[in-house]
Symmetry: D2
Subunit: 306 residues, 4 copies
Amino acid sequence: MTEPKSYKWFLDYLSPFEGHMHGIDTVVFSKQTQFQQVEILDTKSYGRCLVLDGKMQSSEVDEFIYHEALVHPAMFTHPEPKKVFIVGGGEGATLREILRHRSVERVLMVDIDQEVVESCKRHLPQWHQGSFDDPRAEVRYLDARKYLEETTDTYDIIIIDISEPVEEGPAYLLYTKEFYSLVMERLTSGGIISLQAGTTAATSLLNFSAVYQTLRTVFPVVSPYQAPIPSFGLPWGFALASKRFDPRALDEKEIDRRISQRLERELKYYDGETHVGQFFLPKQVRIQMEKQERIIEDNYPLFTYH
Amino acid sequence: MTEPKSYKWFLDYLSPFEGHMHGIDTVVFSKQTQFQQVEILDTKSYGRCLVLDGKMQSSEVDEFIYHEALVHPAMFTHPEPKKVFIVGGGEGATLREILRHRSVERVLMVDIDQEVVESCKRHLPQWHQGSFDDPRAEVRYLDARKYLEETTDTYDIIIIDISEPVEEGPAYLLYTKEFYSLVMERLTSGGIISLQAGTTAATSLLNFSAVYQTLRTVFPVVSPYQAPIPSFGLPWGFALASKRFDPRALDEKEIDRRISQRLERELKYYDGETHVGQFFLPKQVRIQMEKQERIIEDNYPLFTYH
Amino acid sequence: MTEPKSYKWFLDYLSPFEGHMHGIDTVVFSKQTQFQQVEILDTKSYGRCLVLDGKMQSSEVDEFIYHEALVHPAMFTHPEPKKVFIVGGGEGATLREILRHRSVERVLMVDIDQEVVESCKRHLPQWHQGSFDDPRAEVRYLDARKYLEETTDTYDIIIIDISEPVEEGPAYLLYTKEFYSLVMERLTSGGIISLQAGTTAATSLLNFSAVYQTLRTVFPVVSPYQAPIPSFGLPWGFALASKRFDPRALDEKEIDRRISQRLERELKYYDGETHVGQFFLPKQVRIQMEKQERIIEDNYPLFTYH
Amino acid sequence: MTEPKSYKWFLDYLSPFEGHMHGIDTVVFSKQTQFQQVEILDTKSYGRCLVLDGKMQSSEVDEFIYHEALVHPAMFTHPEPKKVFIVGGGEGATLREILRHRSVERVLMVDIDQEVVESCKRHLPQWHQGSFDDPRAEVRYLDARKYLEETTDTYDIIIIDISEPVEEGPAYLLYTKEFYSLVMERLTSGGIISLQAGTTAATSLLNFSAVYQTLRTVFPVVSPYQAPIPSFGLPWGFALASKRFDPRALDEKEIDRRISQRLERELKYYDGETHVGQFFLPKQVRIQMEKQERIIEDNYPLFTYH
């Protein structure tokens, strides 16, 4: 057998009966904020990690997969994204990926938890890479839903980069039909959103498939996709939803062409081949998604692990 | 946080610093055979599981993904597979998937560990589903490499379904250039092999990429691919290697057409869309694979976790 | 570091922040009864173990310490125990120790959970060693408190051998002032009771000290004591309460004399030296016990870990 | 069941098949020194802890038990200890307890690992409480055995406060007959030593009983004793060995009298009752100790967990 060499472990429970174990070197930061337990850990396999309420959010070693997968399919599907809104996005890496696009003129990031953002600014420099100082970027510490309800601004792209909907956490009202309808209203005419949508593991497809069906009640184009993020311990799903543009209409060459036109540098995870491949889901996932009838609503929210 | 509800756990160490935790109900079977520690566990998330030397081999809930992904890409890429050889294949599920193909006339499975096969026969009926009794199937308990060295028989398809190459385990000499050359010699003119090739996680691509490069020193066509098998705790890789036929030349429709022609029933994981999608690897995986220079040889074997 | 060699573990949580880990070989038996989750595990360090609601009850390797420590201080303090009552006692080992005493004429064991007793009878023969077949023994499957309320029988010794008072468990009303008063009424004039009373660890003395003070509101003689039971993971406490006889009045020689007179064979853990030594508690334990003001009542019960 | 509320754990493996789990808040300090891995952790149940090579050494909550149990039985058994030598003693708490004695004129502490001592000085102020600055104290960073071989100084008391003898660790040559003979030669005529001697758990008495028998080949008086230190996860043993004075000759009153004469303040764990009680060992421990024939020698050392 493989013999464990660590005696300090972070146990990331994926459900009450399953978890992923990370040997840890040290606890860089730990604090209970008004909204959640935030921790920054140095792990042996994945380097520095952000953990919220005991769940891995992103790791030094593979955050590039998560953030590139979250941001670029939407950005490159849009012909010329100028105004971008981020719901959540604490680490600043979603901001970083958006700002790579030359077309972007303004990014507004609204995260409810200032303490999380500030601890990320300080302890996760490899994530934000100075993005918070970009003159195109602005950060506000508010309830993103309330902000979107009150503003009349519209955006070309809205990226929803939040943790999973747990009962006591700040995120569950950002996964409902009502919220997606609001987001739709704040999009410009060719607007696109993307979001992480939970695991695509066969054992727990409820969240992913219900988010998919809920988005379909609001958006004409909904494209679920997945990316392998090893530190998450399970295969992971995302969804792109759009008023008009369909990401599956773009082939490898077109994506590669757009990358070379719009960015200064190549990416690490995302290119034309990755773009096209990510929309292929295993047959049983497709079937379960189509069969799903659960619609998530404010009065009927969905909590993971319940 | 998610609160664990189990107090009995199987800890599957993926490396000395990382593991996947499975809450267990019971230990169905446990024995140290001449070759390895074999265990059959009932877990809470994945049902019954086969564990060899402390490593998850396949689970009731998602073994269909592993076995369909291992078997069908090779089988459907071949125009008419009649004779098939399995290296290893203890659970009998690889045999099961092969026997679904009407064209198959004979399958020889050679597994070194009779006690593993017999415990699978007894305790994993959902895996083999009676395949061992199929008149086209034969099982021998021998060193598969030695058998292939001594036989002059040839096969259309050879499936290598073995555990990972650990120092004390029975498998590491089945991952070398010399073994792949031998396998190549035992193929018919359009012959194809496939094998599981370890995780595709960014943190530990050595095995997957070295197997890829080693296969390329022997076979003209080598197609690495991946499948998400949640119970493994990490994204997982496979490789198809072929004398002539290229799996990437087949589109979704052609695969779906062959499935409907050759099988009595549809599959659960694999279809045309799955076939095409599985060969798309993330950019950083492709780059690391191409850069890999390590060739695995009998005198320079590769052990995982060392 | 010490490298763990097991990958199957029973985690015995002693509190939400502390636990004891046991490498397991197999799960011999597992069932949710009407009252509790019962499990019989074979562990690598302590052999076979009984686990109720996830908590170690007794192990093959050191159950003799627990059961001798629970039974004999009371039995040998009494001049001639004839009639004995056991509250709980599922494994049958408390019964076994009582029956060693030649003076004993009748033992009535009342355990609420027939399924626990029957699984112990079947799977823990080294515990009961046939005691259930002794003509002096009788077992009834009832609520012991209700039974004692309704009977008018009296006993020389009452042994309370139950699991810890957890909120959802069957035991918490057997730890109250009202229950101890009832027990007192069912004792003969020189009657003695003994019970396990939770850990004596400095970090969690509430249960032990509150049981002590609660007993003192009912009994004239209360003697707390402790025994080291390695499989419990923490130092463990007991209490003897008595209408008249004081165990601390008996010196080593007198206990050794009584052992040789009353038993056929010597014991493994308990003798005169053990008897005298067990009543010496560390200074800080004594101080905390005396300072404790919590009295456990039916309307104000105490739950461990709450 | 008790539900764990921590997701960061320190796993203290007591053997390859047993461990004690501590929920951790943070890693205060972590370093591989020339001799060992040193870590200072803040745990949820035991506060700050010193961990060497993955093993708990002492915790904020119960270090007073360990250090009072290690130091005072020897100190109070001696009629007037003036010169004291500490082998090891990194945390400075052994020094602290010795310096409480008014009779002490000089304490020399020789610890091989300056980095451990300095990290304790900085991060464990509650342990040393400024003892390193006491004018009677001196610390040298040397191999204590080599130092004792080369010096001709003699001491009234020698306290051996070292970690367990593991194969790769610095301590195993401080557990042999040769070392104890050397220590004996460096004692004044009424000299006494004491040391921690490993667990007294029934499952792993080898170390404790072999240390006892090895000491008996050297010293005329050897008194093994135990103390319950909850954070260690198992009952723990010590030994006092003496040229002349016998600790068991002192009754509770005499110890209490000496405490009030010699110290300015009372202790927390140790008093007359604790002193007398600690020498009572359970019967099976006594028997196994007397039967033990293993003598630990330089050429035949003993390693725990092998």
